[in-house]
């Protein structure tokens, strides 16, 4: 009878855990930034799923540990054996097989979502023309609708971002039309940088000497920040650019307007280099000199093409 009760309690414990984990998984959405692309929604779904599973495992095992600490403490001088069991083959098989199935399931979900990211246009196309890497490039070209894409050149160097629009306007701001796919053709000048907009859930390293294309479709108007996600030297922390997602007409309006008032960026790296802020500890260690932001000469020396 007490055996039955034991199983009942275990089942009850698991049921409670399932409910709590599910609830925690739902909370996970609020821990993420706002969703500004369709892909973001999918990534958040994946995250919520992972949080639920993680919460279940954690609460389950930590719960058992806490229970043990509360109810299984031995009297002070009792060093006798707890129980003689050295293992249980069935249980061990169960707890090897179950996590295996679980992680394979998680991997499958991850794979699904990654594929969807591709289809929706969130993929990078690396124009390196390497025999080994030619398949993804070709596949990508096939699936991308070219006509709708505005191609914006993203030029990143130490330490700022510049964007060159189809009408040859250069700007330190990234403007994107909402609900339209935009193609970003990215170049880095000297070192590796990373293109990262948290609200888009998108990140891609940019390697000098390679052109890396991504296609993205923002779905929410607003102002966001583009950050450099791959450590790029002294003023790495200052590499932020403003991102404006706006309705198409506003976007076109800005394009036309800004072409007539060419902007030079307030380059934060140059500003800090010329007037360093006051800090408690100062070194006189040299750094690569930040170049001012005129229209940067994109790295003309491309990798020798082997086509």
């Amino acid at each position: 009878m007490s055996r039955f009760l034991e199983y009942l309690l275990i089942a009850g414990y698991i049921a409670v855990l399932l409910v709590v984990s599910h609830w925690i998984g739902q909370q996970a959405y609020s821990w993420m930034p706002v969703e500004a692309t369709a892909e973001a929604q999918k990534v958040d779904d994946l995250f919520s799923f992972l949080v639920s599973i993680g919460a279940f495992i954690m609460l389950g095992l930590v719960g058992m540990m806490v229970y043990s600490v509360l109810f299984f403490q031995a009297p002070k001088n009792d060093y006798s054996e707890g129980h003689p069991s050295r293992g249980d083959v069935k249980l061990e098989i169960l707890w090897t097989a179950t996590p295996t199935l679980l992680v394979l399931w998680i991997a499958f979900q991850g794979f699904n979502i990654y594929q969807q990211l591709n289809i929706l246009g969130l993929e990078q196309v690396v124009h390196l023309h390497i025999p080994l890497q030619s398949e993804p490039a070709i596949a990508a070209e096939v699936s991308l609708p070219k006509e709708n894409n505005e191609t914006i050149d993203v030029l990143v160097k130490q330490w700022d971002w510049s964007f060159r629009y189809p009408n040859n306007l250069t700007s330190p701001e990234l403007h994107l039309p909402v609900n339209r796919p935009s193609r970003l053709n990215m170049h880095a000048q000297e070192v590796i940088h990373g293109f990262y907009i948290p609200e888009f859930r998108l990140k891609q390293d940019i390697i000098p000497g390679r052109e890396i294309d991504i296609v993205l479709t923002p779905t929410r108007t607003g102002n966001y920040k583009l950050k450099d996600s791959q450590f790029s030297g002294t003023y790495f922390a200052l590499m932020e650019a403003d991102v404006y997602v706006e309705p198409v007409d506003k976007y076109n309006q800005w394009l036309a307007q800004a072409a007539n008032e060419p902007m030079t960026a307030k380059n934060r790296a140059v500003a800090e280099y010329t007037q360093p802020p006051k800090t408690i500890f100062k070194t006189s260690w040299y750094t690569v000199t930040p170049a001012p932001s005129k229209f940067p000469v994109a790295n003309q020396r491309k990798v020798s093409n082997d086509t």
Partner: protein
């Protein structure tokens, strides 16, 4: 070993039973029945072999780099005006000398195992000369090449690969010289001849690496 040991252990597989099927040379590397700590030679050769296997992975990483760079730059591999590596008879002779020295050093070690010291010393000396010949040949080849360390990817990869290998050849020759000198010390082999065995194994290792490097650098032309 002691048959009185009671096997209350939880081994899922009786590894001891499978040991029977191994070839002799592999059996020597693996101890049985809880280890034979008094077999210093076996223990030391095991350690040294493990070390060489690990060292070969350094070469593997350098070769990986070479392959990755070469495969992705096959058309532009040779900078303009550079003719690259020539599979000349000079190079071939050098290679033959190095590789056949393996077939000299092994009989040398075998002679020492039978304590035929004079035979050992002569064969050992010949090996040293062959190794030295290779090194000198490599140096001459280097000086005659039309590209340097900073000349494109071919310069970087060729000199680092052959240089790193050459460093190991040099180490091998130095070890051989030390072993040769020590062979004249009376009573040197009372506690075994681990030094000579290790140097011999090292030499084979150096030769095997050269087979790979030679194929990848010289035989594989664009």
């Amino acid at each position: 070993m002691n048959r009185g040991i009671i096997h209350i252990d939880e081994s899922p597989i009786r590894l001891e039973r499978w040991r029977r099927y191994l070839p002799n040379w592999l059996k020597r590397f693996l101890p049985s029945r809880g280890g034979r700590a008094e077999d210093h030679h076996g223990k030391a050769m095991f350690g040294f072999t493990v070390f060489l296997l690990s060292e070969s992975i350094v070469f593997l990483s350098l070769i990986f780099t070479y392959l990755a760079l070469r495969l992705t730059h096959s058309r532009s591999w040779l900078p303009p005006g550079i003719s690259g590596l020539e599979l000349s008879s000079f190079v071939i002779i050098n290679t033959v000398v190095l590789l056949s020295s393996s077939f000299v050093i092994q009989p040398a070690e075998n002679a020492l195992k039978r304590r035929q010291l004079n035979r050992f010393r002569w064969l050992w000396l010949i090996t040293i000369s062959m190794g030295t010949y290779f090194l000198i040949g490599q140096g001459i080849e280097w000086s005659n090449l039309d590209f340097g360390l900073s000349t494109g990817l071919i310069g970087s990869t060729f000199y680092v690969l052959t240089g790193f290998h050459g460093l190991h050849v040099l180490t091998g020759v130095l070890l051989q010289i030390i072993m040769l000198v020590r062979s004249f010390i009376p009573g040197n082999y009372h506690k075994g001849h681990f030094g000579v065995s290790a140097t011999t194994l090292f030499w084979h290792f150096v030769d095997i690496i050269w087979v790979f490097l030679f194929s990848l650098l010289y035989l594989w032309q664009a």
